[in-house]
């Protein structure tokens, strides 16, 4: 299914992993779903939860100068040994085609390929079960969960609508509200972040 390799694994633990990729390939968007094969039969699913682009002395020095030529910019982006690091938050896994919203049974290994998920994979994963995977996103502490959730919903909603499931987003939002309804500040933050999903320009079919 997913064959667009966007990076290779640098390090991992049970809850997530970090993959490295070069800037010369299109960077996956924050919140987009990725899959990492764990074996011939298993693959872990995750969300891009952070993109790190480290600086160094040279970059800092260059940044302070005026009119940096394009070739220098390209050199720093493409040649210099500062890969983009993609942090991935695991949200579940698949055993053959059976989806589980539990954490993967084991983390992937160094230099494993990380692929971006196809719309079919996104629909399969997000449409399976009862949104149990959302708890991985909502309980994350180091990153802005609301923005991650909104970014994920944007991608998943688009895929689901293409598959004819216009009601998916409402069901997903219900699950989020149910999860956070006893925590007013958290819930309002989450909903604020997701509000743009309901803007008319993001609902081209005019549905709710």
């Amino acid at each position: 299914m997913s064959k667009i390799v966007i990076g290779r694994l640098l390090r991992a633990n049970t809850r997530g992993c970090v993959a490295g990729c070069q800037i010369h390939q299109p960077l996956p968007a924050f919140g987009s779903m990725v899959a990492i094969p764990l074996s011939n039969t298993e693959r872990a699913f995750g969300l891009i939860s952070n993109l790190h682009i480290d600086d160094d002395g040279l970059v800092r020095q260059l940044a302070a100068t005026r009119d940096i030529p394009e070739e220098i910019i390209q050199d720093n982006r493409l040649n210099r040994n500062v890969p983009v690091e993609l942090s991935v938050l695991f949200i579940g896994y698949a055993f053959h085609e059976a989806i589980s919203h539990l954490l993967p049974p084991r983390p992937p290994l160094s230099l494993d390929e990380m692929n971006s998920c196809t719309d079919e994979e996104i629909c399969l994963f997000t449409g399976s079960g009862r949104f149990g995977y959302l708890r991985h996103i909502l309980s994350v502490e180091e990153i802005p969960a609301a923005d991650l959730l909104a970014a994920h919903f944007q991608q998943a909603d688009r895929a689901q609508r293409l598959a004819g499931n216009a009601g998916w987003i409402d069901a997903a939002m219900q699950a989020v509200i149910q999860w956070a309804r006893d925590d007013y500040p958290t819930l309002t933050t989450l909903l604020w972040a997701c509000a743009t999903l309901y803007a008319p320009q993001n609902r081209p079919e005019g549905g709710q």
């Binding site: 040279l58 302070a64 100068t65 030529p69 390209q74 040649n79 210099r80």
Partner: protein, 383 residues
């Protein structure tokens, strides 16, 4: 606490006092040097003859500059127009074999970076990594002197430049970090001689390919021009301790270069024809922070005013990229690509060790001395 600061405290005060005294002396010497500098310009032929005479009579041969066809006190502004060229730079790093390591390993790592300014294209980078080989063509596993390894590295640096195939119709500047002159004192050993010959061949090759080889010395400590001025004086004068950079920081406006000087040294005779070495100073700093650097070029370049202008312009352009710490960007990048970090060295040793072990070849192991040195420093609980 390995340093006894109680002992040092009075010495620091003395250090400051001595430095002040030295500054005052240098100020006086600088004034004298400036007088001589301008005097050289007024009567160049006579002065040049005097200098040459003094130099040839001295033994051992000192290191000095000699006035060239350009007036000594001549200074050239940066060319008004930026000229199209292609830039090459190389740098190298090495692993010197050590008896204290698990395995003895000699390695030269050389980088070459090339790009065309204003092309918008990212630079191309080449890395060459080679174990050092002995006379018999086998990989060297015994001990090697640091000098020899450095020489090998210098050779690799110029070779990787010489290997470049220049684009037609576009001048190629080939920059190296440090002097073009390989070493200051001639060596007698056959190994050195062979490497030295190969070095000259490679330099010749760059010139033959129409490239503009140049050695860039960022913080020159030498007093080649000062020596020359001393020799130009009619009476004996002591300008010791004064550096060329100090003189040219006073003389050169931002972007200006000095006149080209011939390089006279114990080894300079070894460079002949169009590999004969010349140098000039270049002001890459600004008015408030002058920073003069020395650029060494072979005769093949020095005699071509257009090439010198091209080099002058390209170096200023490259230094400008680095903001308030002017240094050619391309050289920095060549260094960055070539340098072997300690963890990479350890990884390489690990890879070799594992490969040897798989083949059943015994590993000598690290010396206890090295192991003791590598003991970790104190750690804090929880860190």
């Amino acid at each position: 606490m390995p340093i006894n600061y109680l002992h040092l405290q009075p010495q620091i005060e003395k250090y400051v006092a001595d430095a002040q005294m030295r500054q005052e002396e240098l100020r006086d010497k600088l004034a004298a040097a400036l007088d001589l500098y301008h005097a050289c310009g007024e009567d160049p032929e006579e002065k040049t003859a005097r200098i040459r005479g003094h130099l040839l009579n001295q033994s051992p041969r000192p290191r000095s500059g000699i006035p060239s066809w350009e007036r000594v006190d001549w200074r050239k502004d940066a060319p008004a127009e930026q000229m199209a060229c292609h830039l090459l730079a190389s740098d190298g790093s090495q692993i010197v074999p050590s008896a204290h390591e698990e395995i003895s390993l000699g390695l030269i790592n050389t980088s070459r970076i090339s790009f065309t300014p204003q092309s918008g294209m990212p630079p191309q980078i080449e890395i060459e990594s080679r174990f050092i080989e002995g006379e018999d063509g086998r990989i060297e596993m015994g001990e090697l002197s640091e000098d020899l390894v450095s020489l090998q590295r210098d050779l690799a640096e110029i070779r990787i430049l010489a290997d470049w195939r220049p684009q037609e119709g576009l001048a190629t500047i080939a920059l190296g970090d440090g002097p073009l002159e390989l070493f200051h004192q001639p060596r007698r050993e056959a190994a050195f001689e062979r490497i030295f010959q190969a070095y000259r061949d490679a330099m010749q090759q760059t010139i033959d390919k129409g490239m503009i080889p140049a050695g860039y010395t960022d913080k020159p400590r030498a007093g080649l021009v000062i020596k020359m001025l001393t020799l130009s004086a009619e009476s004996k004068i002591d300008l010791s301790g004064l550096e060329d950079a100090t003189l040219f920081n006073t003389l050169l406006q931002p972007g200006q270069r000095s006149a080209i000087f011939e390089l006279f040294s114990p080894a300079s005779d070894a460079y002949s024809g169009n590999t004969k070495l010349y140098f000039f100073y270049l002001q890459v700093g600004n008015e408030s922070h002058p920073w003069s650097v020395r650029v060494e070029i072979p005769a093949g370049v020095a005699h071509d005013a257009e090439k010198v202008d091209l080099l002058h312009c390209a170096l200023l352009d490259q230094c400008q990229l680095m903001g308030n710490r002017p240094y050619p960007y391309i050289l920095h990048r060549a260094h960055e690509e070539a340098v072997i970090h300690l963890d990479e060295k350890q990884d390489l040793i690990g890879l070799l060790t594992a490969t040897l072990q798989r083949e059943g070849i015994p590993i000598p192991g690290r010396s206890y001395k090295q192991s003791a040195k590598d003991l970790k420093t104190r750690t804090r609980m929880g860190r």
